[in-house]
């Protein structure tokens, strides 16, 4: 086979050799014949005659070098190249539209592959399972919480009908399931430690931390890049604090993995020793995260303090996630059958009341090969929607090329007829035409990959803007490229088959006789155009709905300033600042920031307003006004001048300011809605709110206007808000907000400098403008709207090109008919109308087909929309009119050309 291949590669040279050899043979033969007394001319002819068919012999020889299939393929490709070069405009257009279509598909598919399909980079990922539980809705009939889970650190997500899902378990559940487990070879736990202050050689950064149990690395079967990984002996109370760092961290901070081993590091001022470095491709078990630091589970007592120690024995506090590796030969269903009763038995012991017993969580196992499902939950639906859209675009592009090929097939009927009548097999001609179309599509696929490289890059950029540290690595790996190659070839066959079959219909005689005109009415073409219009409409509607969703999100009333505000976060407690000094530290910093020229005012709070619900309440326990408990109010710790900086109007009283010191009377500012709900028309200023669990009272000193607290989508509008003084209820981590003149990002340098001067150990994190911080929460919607708009434009352009091509072809075909009409007195206007009418009919049929489809299909994406109904009439009407206008524009040029036909010229042609 190899030799054949080499022969095939050398075939051009060999062919030349063979030709020369045969010529020599003929010459010698002729010379011999000449000696017998025949004239030179006749001798040569005789030599030829005796030799036989030279061409055929050469073919035969060549067939020996390579299989006939290959040789004919070579011919087809050469012929295809010539055809492509001869029709430059057509080829360029076809390749371009295919490249766009295939590129878009490749991009989206590579994201799907990385989010939905790719396995964890560990040994035998197929035998990993994730442990989850589900339970009936946790609220009872009185809307009160009745569930064995009294507290959770991590996430629970709702399923259908209010069922609660979670992957968090109490530590005791982990111990119970791990003991003498017959179905798992290892069971390991972990939890996301969020950000910690990692100090290496005096330099502090914020590091993503993962706490892992001793079996974690063994269970995942990961080998260290250097040193050793955390083992069971490291994960017990009182063990020497050790840490494993990520490969990237070891490179950035120590230069190389080997240098990191044995080095001391500080995690929030607690001393650890680096014992190992994780391998470069390892990112933990969550594709959405990439921890910089892995710590033994039990060291959270050292880092997070005594409250962490209380989590271990508490059977009602859910905080550890678990994964197991199945023993060989054990199926997931078998494991579930063994473990579910065991978990049930244990969890029943933690229920204290009947209500809790009625809603016990039930254990479920899920495949763990791809890691945790947070990204999948968030992105799988949008990705499927996007994949549908790009598939439609590719279908439009294919329809387009099929259409152009049909038109060309009509033009090539004569060529085909000649070839068929000379004895070419029909299959051979079809194969040749298919080779041409597959060549087009392969070229389109190749350029499509180039588009996809760019697309993956820009889409990653677009998505990552929404996240602090984006870890999604979509890439064009061999699986994606194989899918692209397959897609290209299938496309080529799809759009090539119909034209190839049509142009090789066996009735060659009519085509040979007439040079032009006639031909079938092109019903296939019309069907294709209608399909294109229907698909484009779907994509246009999708784009319309998502853009409208984004507009709705952007027009949500915030109640506070969006522009000219710079946000950044600091955590002084992590480097050892303690009460009460921490309050003065933050206040001093605030004053220094405020003194930067160009900064109007500076303030700080426990977090930005938009992400405040995620950082929790600033106080513990309930709030009461007299005997009445305040329900549904949000409490935020804010520094001086918060309302001024955020441009939240003060309706009465004052805002929190410098007067509110740690030792003075605790104060609060409440929102108008809270004031109205609990004080009616009375002025709340001067009244008290009691905090039984904090054993303190706060005095209301002012009323602010209502504001939207938390995200744009799910928080109720004008939530009741209580601001308390950050000096009196000091948070650990604070987010500063500077009101700036001009671009807020101009001040980033000064901010870093001032923070460094104040305490060089504290990293400034999450530097972002308020507008970007808000957009971050709707990054999915922004990405979606942008992508869909891009796709809609693409689809529209491709469909219009198709329409234009079809109409131009039709006009060219009807030159005679139009000529007759004009000779009989038809007006130019009526000729234009004749062509446009056909465009409109096609468009109308397309719309008529796709409107019902749109109504059904878009019900599926309801959850991705905000304040927009899937059948929004405005969007449908807009999409329809855009499509009609585009269709008319595409049809106008051919129509105009038709009206310019000179009847005399046209008729002379007939």
């Amino acid at each position: 086979m190899l030799r054949r291949l080499r022969y095939w590669i050398e075939s051009a040279r060999r062919s030349e050799t063979l030709r020369e050899e045969m010529e020599l043979h003929l010459a010698e033969k002729a010379a011999e014949l000449e000696e017998d007394g025949i004239t030179a001319e006749r001798a040569l002819a005789e030599a030829r005659r005796r030799f036989g068919n030279i061409g055929m012999k050469r073919e035969e020889s060549r067939e020996i070098w390579m299989t006939r299939f290959l040789s004919e393929l070579g011919q087809d490709i050469r012929y295809g190249c010539r055809t492509m070069i001869a029709n430059k405009a057509f080829s360029a257009l076809a390749v371009l539209s295919l490249a766009l279509g295939i590129g878009a598909n490749t991009t989206i598919y590579s994201f799907m592959e990385s989010i939905l399909l790719r396995s964890l980079p560990v040994a035998d990922p197929g035998s990993l399972v994730v442990l989850n539980w589900h339970s009936p809705p946790p609220f009872n009939a009185n809307k009160q919480w009745a569930h064995v889970m009294h507290g959770i650190q991590g996430i629970a997500w709702p399923g259908a009908k209010g069922v609660m899902f979670s992957g968090m378990f109490p530590y005791r559940a982990f111990e119970t399931l791990g003991a003498e487990n017959p179905v798992f070879s290892t069971l390991f736990g972990y939890f996301n430690g969020l950000h910690h202050n990692l100090t290496i050689r005096g330099q502090a950064v914020s590091a993503d931390t993962e706490y892992v149990t001793g079996e974690y690395f063994r269970g995942l079967a990961v080998s260290p890049a250097a040193g050793r990984l955390i083992g069971p002996e490291d994960d017990r109370p009182g063990a020497t604090p050790v840490a494993v760092i990520s490969f990237v961290t070891s490179q950035n901070r120590f230069g190389a993995p080997a240098n990191a081993i044995g080095q001391p590091i500080l995690v929030d001022n607690v001393a650890f020793t680096v014992i190992g470095v994780a391998p470069p491709e390892f990112f933990g078990v969550d594709p959405a995260a990439a921890p910089d630091l892995y710590l033994p589970l039990h060291t959270n007592v050292l880092v997070d303090g005594v409250q962490a120690a209380r989590m271990y024995p508490d059977g009602n506090f859910y905080w550890v996630e678990m994964m197991g590796r199945l023993r060989p030969g054990v199926s997931m269903a078998q494991a579930q059958a063994v473990l579910a009763p065991r978990f049930h038995q244990w969890v029943a012991t933690t229920a204290a009341t009947e209500g809790e017993r009625a809603k016990l969580p039930a254990l479920i196992l899920n495949p763990g090969a791809a890691g945790l499902g947070s990204l999948r939950r968030q992105y799988s639906k949008p990705l499927y929607v996007l994949l549908t859209m790009v598939a439609l675009i590719l279908a439009i592009a294919c329809a387009n090329i099929a259409n152009l090929l049909l038109a060309r097939a009509a033009a090539r009927r004569r060529e085909m007829a000649v070839r068929l009548s000379l004895g070419a097999g029909r299959f051979r001609v079809v194969r040749q035409l298919l080779t041409e179309s597959v060549m087009l599509s392969s070229l389109g696929g190749a350029f499509g990959v180039l588009f996809a490289i760019w697309g993956v890059r820009s889409l990653t950029l677009l998505l990552s803007r929404g996240q602090e540290n984006f870890t999604l690595h979509a890439e064009l790996n061999w699986r994606v490229l194989a899918a692209t190659a397959a897609l290209s070839i299938v496309c080529g066959l799809l759009f090539g088959l119909a034209p190839a079959i049509q142009s090789t219909r066996p009735d060659v005689m009519p085509a040979l006789k007439s040079s032009r005109g006639g031909g079938p009415r092109g019903r296939v073409q019309q069907v294709l155009v209608i399909a294109q219009i229907a698909f484009s409409f779907l994509i246009l509607v999708a784009a319309g709905l998502f853009v409208r969703t984004l507009n709705n999100l952007h027009s949500v009333q915030l109640g506070y300033a969006r522009e000219h505000i710079l946000l950044f976060s600091l955590n002084a407690r992590q480097v050892g600042h303690r009460d009460p000094e921490i309050a003065t530290f933050y206040e001093d910093l605030r004053k220094r920031f405020e003194s930067i020229p160009g900064v109007g005012s500076a303030t700080f709070s426990q977090s930005s307003i938009i992400s405040a619900p995620r950082t929790g309440q600033a106080i513990k326990g309930p709030m009461k006004i007299g005997a009445v408990t305040i329900e549904g109010a949000r409490v935020m710790a804010a520094g001086p001048r918060f309302l001024t900086t955020m441009r939240i109007p003060i309706l009465s009283g004052r805002e929190i300011d410098d007067r509110d010191q740690p030792g003075s009377m605790p104060v609060a500012v409440i929102s108008a809605r809270l004031a109205r709900t609990y004080f009616g028309n009375e002025s709340p200023v001067g009244r008290q709110i009691t905090l039984p669990e904090e054993k303190r009272d706060v005095q209301i000193v002012g009323v602010s206007a209502n504001l939207r607290y938390g995200g744009l989508k799910n928080e109720e509008e004008n939530a009741m808000t209580v601001f308390v003084a950050a000096s009196q209820f000091p948070p650990d981590r604070v987010t500063f907000a500077l009101r700036t003149a001009g671009d807020p990002l101009k001040f980033v340098q000064s901010v870093h400098q001032i923070a460094r001067e104040a305490d060089s150990r504290i990293p400034v994190t999450n530097v972002v403008t308020q507008a970007a911080e808000i957009d971050r929460t709707i990054s999915r919607e922004i990405t979606f709207a942008k992508l869909c708009t891009g796709f809609a434009v693409l689809a529209l352009v491709i469909a219009c090109v198709g329409l234009y091509g079809t109409m131009s072809y039709n006009v060219a075909r009807q030159v005679g008919e139009i000529g007759v009409r004009m000779a009989l007195g038809a007006q130019r206007r009526s000729v234009v109308w004749m062509v446009l009418r056909r465009v409109l009919i096609l468009a109308a049929v397309g719309l008529a087909l796709s409107v019902p489809a749109a109504l059904v299909a878009f019900r599926l994406v309801r959850s991705l929309l905000f304040d927009t109904r899937p059948n929004d009439p405005g969007t449908l009407a807009l999409a329809a009119s855009v499509l009609l206008i585009a269709a008319i524009l595409a049809g106008y040029a051919p129509a105009r050309r038709a009206s310019r036909i000179d009847p005399l010229v046209a008729l002379r042609h007939e």
Binding site: M22, H25, F51, G52, I54, M56, R58, I64, W65
Partner: protein, 112 residues
């Protein structure tokens, strides 16, 4: 597409054997091989000249003969073919087969 029966098709594969046998005596170019076969068979065997070249290609692909550029007696550039070691083995095999076949045919003919 039907092909005309070759003159040497009376014994399939015999052309290869004849070529190998010819080349086992001396190195020759294509035309020379034809000449040699015709002359040594007293013009009884007429090689269809065109068929020679596909056969040569096949033999070369199998590694039984080797073609190198050389010069003919008329001082013209030509491809001179040599038999290889593998070619000699093949020739032996084919000769044995041929001998068996002719003996078998002779028996059949004699039995009639």
């Amino acid at each position: 597409m039907g092909r005309k029966a070759h003159k040497n098709d009376s014994l399939p594969g015999s052309l290869d054997m004849l070529i190998l046998r010819t080349l086992s005596r001396r190195d020759l170019h294509g035309y020379g091989i034809v000449q040699f076969i015709q002359q040594s068979s007293d013009n009884a065997l007429l090689v269809e000249e065109g068929s020679l070249y596909p056969a040569l290609q096949r033999l070369e692909l199998n590694g039984w003969i080797e073609g190198v550029w050389g010069v003919t007696s008329n001082n013209r550039r030509a491809r001179i073919y040599k038999i290889t070691a593998a070619g000699r083995q093949q020739l032996a095999v084919e000769t044995r087969k041929y001998a068996k076949l002719t003996v078998a045919i002779a028996r059949v003919m004699g039995a009639e």
